[in-house]
């Protein structure tokens, strides 16, 4: 398994993820792309601000890819995450997996994004017209 981990303020490139994932043995590739939505619980979102514990986040993303590859036979795993200020429609995260079969690729991709959201030290602040909040901080 090869993995490609990015965490930076630069815009993410879905094409690069796609090119990285392709191998002659991979029959199925699944790519999840998150985008900044224009609303949250009926409130209009102005922008998002992402902050990361950079060194730890990269380490945890590498660990996450390794755990995923133990659960499913993945050929390639890409985890690209952006930090800084993002406008509506911009892309904070792209996760891609290639496997021999599609079922494994779907399961692995879903596991990666679910677990990323639970365990990677990255924080997102939603900014509304009348204030802001750190997402998921409170019960």
């Amino acid at each position: 398994m090869e993995c490609q981990i990015y965490l930076s303020e630069q815009p993410l490139d879905g094409n690069e993820v796609f090119r990285f994932l392709q191998t002659p043995a991979s029959g199925g590739m699944v790519v999840f792309t998150g985008t900044v939505r224009d609303h949250f619980e009926n409130k209009k979102v102005i922008r998002l601000e992402f902050e990361a514990y950079q060194a730890m986040a990269v380490k945890e993303m590498e660990r996450l890819a390794a755990i995923c590859a133990e659960k499913w036979p993945c050929h390639r795993i890409a985890i690209h995450h952006r930090t800084g200020v993002l406008q509506v429609g911009e892309i904070p995260v792209i996760i891609g997996v290639s496997c021999t079969h599609r079922r494994e690729a779907f399961a692995a991709c879903q596991f990666l994004i679910d677990t990323l959201k639970e365990s990677i030290p990255i924080w997102k602040k939603e900014v509304f017209q009348d204030g802001s909040h750190w997402v998921s901080a409170h019960p």
Partner: protein, 88 residues
Amino acid sequence: MKTQSAEKLAIRILAFGIAKDILEDNVIWMEIKPGSKVSDLKEVLLEEFPDFEKLRYVRFAINESYVDDDHVISQDDEIAIIPPVSGG
């Protein structure tokens, strides 16, 4: 005769996200007794900054890895408070 404070370790703690807002800084210094565990640090922190009680959870990382409550803190550790994450 040593003073009480001489027996303490000065540790530096990184803060991110809402933890940074609660501490009003992205790094704070604290003094802990040698042999203190993460649970001891957590207790002191919650006492001084009760806003942490309102969070879904507070975890700690040492040297860029998550640690359990019974992890013993060393002087040179890079310690970070990890409030509820929300990447993706």
